[in-house]
Symmetry: C2
Subunit: 365 residues, 2 copies
């Protein structure tokens, strides 16, 4: 006998295939198995009723046994399965126990649900809901920056108190929270912090420097993400940063026009890089660190904030219809700050690249 | 040669040992190795500067190579290590690649950092900061419930709109967010939803029924959690729920008095159960599901919201000084609703059980 089943274990937030395959998500570990068209989700007694309500049609819901091992053994015995296909992220401890119980474990080299890259209309709609929340958060940030005053030392002041990245982030996140979103690590990075793409920002914000607003909420209800970046300045930006902004905006728009069925992601990335270079913005590394455009142009978005397809220099797989990707060129200079502008694009079945983002572009506010 | 090193891989939120051991956390995967007193953290170029700043003294920070496999090979070669001890949750894909490269992989049966259960004063202080934020969130919920009116159909109305669990949760979470917290899955469950301990609550809230407020924020800065539950009623609770509240309150306080060095967690749980039974509240399961007190009395809290020691019927390991645990008995009846009251207790080095929670107890508001 050599009958296979896919096996997934984890919580629905960190192992998003679980949510995709079962329709169910829980903060605690649960289990999913699939053999051909047979699908089964095993959850704790505490989650059973909720799982029955939210599981996709055709997914049987069971209660877990005393351990994951026992649960898998029971389902596998019912189905006559002896080989389990697991993702590379599957916990090694459970894998070893399953081997000890006589199962053959196969580690999938490729995504178990490659169809996740190609969104159904219902999924695109869920992404749009999260993106609209990101836009509401971004508008709130800009509103607060507009309301703030510039102190003589060029720091920003909002309602009699210094305006910090932390306060601005709380305003953005609260706006999104009230729209049913979960927001973690929202970036509101000003001054030279904006030159580090992952710096979420801390401390008092400054006039005249760009503030990078990278906002990526996940819907608590659906699990789908939105992703948006705008960069704004309160006050008077340097000529260098003005030119950088214009270059990034042109790169984003040109890259957008390159997104079509059959286009090669690495070439789209290269196009954006070329526009930036044409404007005199080169990429490299010196004693102060990386500078220029040193991350990938974009990435797929769905139940994971970063998923395929990557619009990166290393992806040569032609684009297909159905993908939802970000288009987010940036320029970063350790002694000047950073600029990033990010839209989301849906490549629909007719091969048209639809910009999902509605947020306006404005640098000086 | 048989020289061992601990190996951890993941992001600092889901693999909290990474944060504990290195002092650093990142939303993307990074790597930590420890062999005796040698400790090394390997992060992407994007995170390098931040890692250098936040890593604990004695932790060397390196840049990751093209893959985790290559990074591990380089560090292991430098250290002369050929055996890697990994947690059971370690990804099987990387474990297999490491085996293929000649490493022996040992899966730890026990926690790699058992000292995590025993908090340093600095850790207790971080937990208290998060707990105070939870209390601020809880007070905000009670304020909103107090401000709300009861419509003729006994639904709650706040500022001209129906008061839903979602709106109440947003008020709680926004309060905590402004205090630097991350809050996910905050429970504001009213009506019969409160009878399901994991139900976060949805829809319009009702007068006369208990609303379970289970609030557990994590500090964005430190990663430590707070955990608090209060149950309140707007309007007039049933006599049954009034008696249930009193029983749960007595059980919580009695259990608290049992927390001491050498006490057996399963016996403390049993004490709480006995108090509830003495008041006539039994535990069981019928056609409507579980009822009574059907979860563990409490759990340790630190960089994980649920960690050791468990105050559960299955833990017979005597308590030691330094633990921070929750004490959270509850009563749940599918046709009546739920009551849960949760404090946090620190068993200090003098063997004194210190209640960290300052939030008052009040049922009818």
């Amino acid at each position: 006998m050599n009958k296979k089943a896919i096996l997934l274990v984890g919580d629905g937030v960190s192992v998003t295939d679980l949510r995709y395959a079962s329709g169910f998500s829980a903060p605690d570990d649960f289990l999913f198995m699939q053999s051909g068209t047979r699908k089964c989700c095993a959850v704790s007694a505490l989650e059973y009723n909720r799982a029955v309500t939210s599981a996709l049609p055709g997914v049987e819901v069971r209660r877990t046994h005393s351990s994951h091992l026992e649960t898998v053994k029971t389902i596998a015995a019912d189905w006559g399965v002896d080989t389990l296909t697991v993702p590379g992220s599957f916990p090694v401890g459970l894998a070893e126990k399953l081997k000890g119980a006589g199962f053959t474990i196969e580690i999938a080299e490729q995504p178990l649900y490659p169809e996740r890259e190609f969104k159904k209309i219902s999924e695109v709609q869920k992404i749009i809901v999260s993106l609209r929340a990101a836009e509401a958060g971004c508008r709130r940030a800009i509103e607060v920056l507009k309301e703030s005053d510039i102190a003589p030392d060029r720091t920003l002041v909002w309602g009699n108190a210094p305006l910090t990245s932390e306060i601005l982030r709380a305003e953005v996140d609260c706006t999104m929270l009230r729209l049913g979103m979960i927001a973690v690590d929202t970036i509101c990075a000003g001054g030279l912090q904006g030159a580090q793409p992952h710096n979420t920002g801390s401390g008092v914000l400054l006039a005249d420097y760009p503030v990078v607003l990278d906002i990526f909420p996940r819907s608590a209800a659906t699990g789908y993400w939105g992703d948006l970046t705008r960069t704004v300045v309160k006050g008077t930006p340097s000529d260098f940063m003005r030119r950088a902004y214009d270059a990034v905006l042109e790169a984003r728009e040109f890259a957008k026009s390159c997104i079509k069925i059959g286009a090669i992601p690495s070439e789209i990335h290269k196009c954006a890089e070329n526009i930036l270079a044409k404007h005199g913005f080169s990429t490299g590394c010196d004693e102060k660190g990386d500078y220029g455009f040193f991350h990938g142009l974009g990435h797929g978005v769905g139940l994971d904030i970063h998923e395929g397809p990557r619009l990166s220099p290393r992806n040569s797989e032609p684009l297909k219809a159905g993908v939802v990707v970000t288009d987010e060129p940036g320029l970063y200079y350790p002694d000047q700050g950073g600029i990033r502008l990010e839209d989301m694009i849906y490549l629909n079945d007719e091969g048209k690249a639809v910009t999902l983002t509605e947020m306006e572009d404005q640098f000086v506010i």
